[in-house]
C-alpha cells in the first residue's frame, strides 16, 4: 500500500489520487504527504457532530450547513427526548429558525425569503434532523419549506404578500391537507368537496394525517370542485385553497402515534366550512397540477430528513462502540459490530448522493421523479437500517430511551411511509424506468 501510494504521488495520476483516495492506516511519512495543502481527507469521521465537508456539496450548501448547525447544536438530544415524551411542539427551535430567516429559504426574496433551491433546503432539513432532532425537529418547519410552493408559483401578488410574509416571519403556521381516510395515495379520488355559493365556497369532507394542525392558523387544502363524473380526466376538477383553519367549522383530533410525538398529527372533519373566494389558489379545477408541482421536492426533503436520522444514529453507535469495553476490548473492535456499521455508512452515503443529485436536477428545472423517488426510498431504508443497527450495537442500552437511538428508529419508520410508501415508489420505477405495465 505504502509503496504504491508513494509512486502514485509522483505520477501523472497524483491529482486523481489526491482527490479521490482516502488512505487508512498510512505510515507517518505518507501521512505527512497527506497533510500538505492540496491533499485533503474527503470525509469526516462518522463520530463527528455535523461535519460540513461532504465532498459533493457546493459552497452555498456548506454555508447553510454551518449556519444551521450553529442553531441546532444548542438543542440537545435530551431536549428532543423530552419534547417527544411530553408531546410538546418544539417552539424554541421553531422560533430560533424563524427569527433567523430560515423559514423562507426557498421562498421569493420580495416577501422576506432567500430564494435558494431545494439543494440548500435539503441540507437545512438534513442538518436539523441530524442534530438529534430527527423528524420532531424537521417536521416542525418542513411545511414552511416546500408547502407554499403552489402559492409562490401560482398565487397572485396580493395573496403572496398576505400569506408568505407572516409565514416566513413565523407569525403564522400552515398545515397541508390533502390525504383522506378513504383514498390515501389515490389522491384523484378524494371525496372532500366544495361548492360555490356567491363569494364563498362551502367545503365538506374529511382529511387525515394532517401534521401541525394543532398549532397552525392556516391550511392548504385540496378538495373536489367538479364531481368526478363531470370531468374528462380525474386529474381535473380539484381545487386548492389556502385559508384560515376555522376551528368552528373544522373538528381536529390528534392521532396518537409510534413516534415524532412532539409534532401533532391529526384527522380533520369539516361540515359547511365557509371559505372566501379570495382564498382559492390559481384557477378552479387546477388544484392537482399545482400540488403535483411540489411533490418531487417533498420527496427529496423527506429523504434528506431520513439521512439526518441515519447519520445521527450512526454517530451515536460509533461513539458508543468505540468506548464500550466488553471482553477486554471496545465492542467496536469486533467485526460483528463493526462491519454492519460500515455497511450503514455506505448505504447512507450512496442514498445521500442520489438525494443531492435529485435536488440539483430539481433546481435545474428537471421533472426528476425517478431520482426524487429513488432517493427517498434509499434514504429512508438506509436510515431505518442505521437506526436499527445503532440499537443493536448498544445492546440493552439501545432499548433504553436515554440513549436516543430507539427514538431515531421510531422516526425512521415514518420516512419509509411518508409521503409515499416504498411499494408505490417501486411501482413508479417499474412503470417509468423499467417500462413495465402498471400492476395495480
Amino acid at each position: 500500500m505504502k509503496g504504491r501510494l508513494a509512486i502514485k504521488f509522483g505520477s501523472p495520476y497524483s491529482i486523481l489520487c489526491r482527490t479521490s483516495t482516502w488512505i487508512p492506516n498510512v505510515s507517518p511519512c505518507v501521512r505527512s504527504a497527506v497533510s500538505t495543502p492540496n491533499i485533503r481527507h474527503l470525509h469526516a469521521r462518522a463520530t463527528e457532530y455535523l461535519p460540513s465537508n461532504f465532498p459533493d456539496w457546493t459552497d452555498s450548501q456548506r454555508s447553510v450547513r454551518e449556519a444551521i448547525s450553529a442553531i441546532c447544536s444548542r438543542y440537545t438530544d435530551d431536549y428532543w427526548l423530552e419534547r417527544d415524551t411530553e408531546h410538546k411542539f418544539p417552539w424554541e427551535l421553531y422560533k430560533d429558525l424563524a427569527a433567523n430567516g430560515w423559514l423562507g429559504i426557498c421562498l421569493p426574496e420580495k416577501f422576506g425569503g432567500s430564494n435558494l433551491g431545494i439543494s440548500e433546503a435539503a441540507v437545512m432539513l438534513q442538518t436539523i434532523s441530524e442534530s438529534g432532532a430527527g423528524m420532531n425537529g424537521a417536521s416542525s418547519v418542513h411545511m414552511n419549506i416546500f408547502g407554499l410552493e403552489p402559492v409562490a408559483k401560482f398565487g397572485t401578488d396580493k395573496q403572496k404578500e398576505q400569506w408568505l410574509v407572516p409565514l416566513i416571519q413565523g407569525k403564522e403556521r400552515a398545515c397541508f391537507a390533502v390525504t383522506e381516510p378513504n383514498t390515501g395515495l389515490d389522491t384523484l379520488r378524494l371525496q372532500s368537496s366544495a361548492r360555490r355559493e356567491g363569494d364563498h365556497y362551502i367545503l365538506n369532507g374529511s382529511k387525515v394525517f394532517i401534521s401541525t394542525a394543532q398549532v397552525a392558523e392556516k391550511a392548504l387544502i385540496l378538495v373536489r370542485t367538479t364531481p368526478l363524473k363531470d370531468v374528462k380526466k380525474p386529474s381535473q376538477g380539484l381545487s386548492l385553497f389556502y385559508t384560515n383553519l376555522d376551528r368552528s367549522a373544522v373538528q381536529i383530533h390528534e392521532i396518537p402515534k409510534m413516534g415524532r410525538s412532539a409534532v401533532d398529527t391529526n384527522s380533520l372533519s369539516f361540515e359547511e366550512w365557509k371559505v372566501p373566494v379570495e382564498d382559492l389558489v390559481g384557477q378552479e379545477g387546477d388544484g392537482f397540477r399545482m400540488i403535483l408541482h411540489g411533490m418531487n421536492a417533498e420527496r427529496i426533503l423527506v429523504g434528506a430528513e431520513a439521512l439526518g436520522i441515519g447519520y445521527a444514529a450512526l454517530r451515536r453507535a460509533c461513539n458508543y462502540v468505540g468506548e464500550r469495553v466488553v471482553f477486554g476490548n471496545p465492542v467496536g473492535k469486533y467485526q460483528g459490530i463493526q462491519h454492519p456499521l460500515a455497511e450503514c455508512w455506505m448505504n447512507l452515503e450512496s442514498a445521500r448522493l442520489v438525494i443531492y443529485l435529485a435536488a440539483r436536477l430539481y433546481d435545474e428545472g428537471y421533472v426528476d421523479g425517478e431520482y426524487a423517488n429513488a432517493g427517498k426510498y434509499l434514504a429512508s431504508e438506509a436510515a431505518f437500517k442505521a437506526a436499527e443497527r445503532a440499537i443493536m450495537s448498544h445492546g440493552g442500552m439501545g432499548y433504553a430511551k436515554e440513549y436516543h437511538v430507539e427514538r431515531y428508529m421510531r422516526e425512521a419508520v415514518l420516512t419509509r411511509i411518508a409521503p409515499v410508501s416504498g411499494e408505490m415508489i417501486k411501482n413508479y420505477i417499474g412503470q417509468r424506468v423499467l417500462g413495465l405495465p402498471k400492476s395495480y
Binding site: 505510515s27 507517518p28 501521512r31 505527512s32 497527506v34 497533510s35 495543502p37 491533499i39 485533503r40 481527507h41 474527503l42 470525509h43 469526516a44 463527528e48 457532530y49 455535523l50 461535519p51 460540513s52 465537508n53 459552497d59 456548506r62 454555508s63 447553510v64 454551518e66 449556519a67 450553529a70 442553531i71 447544536s73 430560533d96 427569527a99 433567523n100 430567516g101 430560515w102 423562507g104 429559504i105 422576506g112 432567500s114 435558494l116
Partner: protein
C-alpha cells in the same frame, strides 16, 4: 478627534470547539485535514461587540467594521460568517495552511499594525485568545507595537462620549476592574462580554456580496518568520480511575491515609 469608529476585528479559523483534536502520527501537531473548523469563539464575541456598538448608535457612530483573517483558502468562509454577522468588508491574508501551527502572534501583530495604519483604524477588537494555540498574546503585542492603550479580557464596553472616551470592565481575581481610555484603543474580549448572534439566512446571502479582498503578508511588508520550534506534541496522560469508599468514615480514613487531613 475621532469622527467615528473604524473598527478592525481580526478573526481566526480554528478547529471547532466541540471536536476532540487528534495528534498527528509524527507528533508535530494536531490533525487538521478533514476536521471541522469554525470561527474562534472569542472572535465571535469581538464581531458581536462591534456590531452592537453600531446598533447602539452613539455617542460615536460606527463608520466601518473590517474583519480580517490570515490563513488558507478556507478562511474566506470564516470571513463570510463574520460579514453575515455584521462586518462590512473583509481582508483575507493568504497564508498557506501548514502543519507547523501557522503564524506566530508577533508576526500577526506586526501585520495588524500595518493594517491599522493603512486603514486608519481607531479601535481593534481581538478575542483574548484563539482556542487552538491558546497563546493569548496578539492583542497585547499589537498594543505594544502601536503604543496604544489596551483593555484586555473585556466583559463590558461602553463608549462614553464623542471625544472617544471608552470604559471597559474586565474581570480580575475576586472582582471586576473598570478601565477608562481614549481612542485609539485595543480591546480583547472575554466570554461574558455578550452572546453572539446567529448569522441569519438573509444576512448570509447579503454577506456573499460584501467585498472580500485577498492580500498577502508581503503587502504589509511582513515575513512569516518562526522564532519558536515545536519539539513534540503529546496527549495528556490518560486519567486513572479512582477508588470507591463505602461511607463518610471510609472517605475520611482515606483522606487521612493520603495525608490530606
Amino acid at each position: 478627534m475621532a469622527s467615528g469608529l473604524r473598527i478592525l476585528v481580526p478573526v481566526k479559523r480554528v478547529i471547532d470547539y466541540a471536536i476532540k483534536p487528534r495528534i498527528n502520527k509524527a507528533q508535530t501537531g494536531v490533525e487538521i485535514a478533514g476536521v471541522k473548523h469554525s470561527l474562534n469563539p472569542f472572535d465571535e464575541l469581538s464581531i458581536e461587540e462591534a456590531v452592537r456598538l453600531r446598533e447602539r448608535k452613539g455617542p460615536l457612530k460606527v463608520d466601518n467594521i473590517l474583519a480580517l483573517s490570515a490563513g488558507g483558502a478556507k478562511c474566506a468562509d470564516t470571513l463570510r460568517t463574520a460579514m453575515a454577522m455584521g462586518a462590512d468588508r473583509a481582508f483575507h491574508i493568504d497564508v498557506p495552511d501548514s502543519a507547523d501551527g501557522g503564524l506566530e502572534p508577533l508576526t500577526v501583530a506586526k501585520m495588524l499594525k500595518e493594517v491599522v495604519k493603512k486603514e486608519d483604524i481607531n479601535l481593534v477588537f481581538l478575542g483574548k485568545q484563539a482556542i487552538d494555540g491558546d497563546q493569548g498574546q496578539t492583542g497585547q503585542m499589537l498594543a505594544g507595537l502601536l503604543g496604544w492603550p489596551q483593555a484586555t479580557q473585556a466583559s463590558k464596553v461602553e463608549i462614553k462620549d464623542e471625544s472617544g472616551t471608552v470604559e471597559v470592565v474586565h474581570e480580575v481575581d475576586g472582582g471586576v476592574e473598570t478601565l477608562r481610555a481614549k481612542l485609539p484603543l485595543i480591546i480583547t474580549t472575554d466570554l461574558r462580554l455578550n452572546e453572539p448572534r446567529y448569522a441569519s439566512l438573509p444576512n448570509i446571502m447579503k454577506a456573499k456580496k460584501k467585498p472580500l479582498q485577498k492580500m498577502t503578508l508581503a503587502d504589509f511588508g511582513v515575513e512569516d518568520k518562526k522564532r519558536l520550534k515545536t519539539l513534540k506534541v503529546t496527549e495528556p496522560p490518560a486519567r486513572q480511575g479512582g477508588g470507591k469508599v463505602e461511607d463518610v468514615d471510609g472517605l475520611i480514613g482515606k483522606l487521612k491515609e493520603l495525608g490530606a487531613l
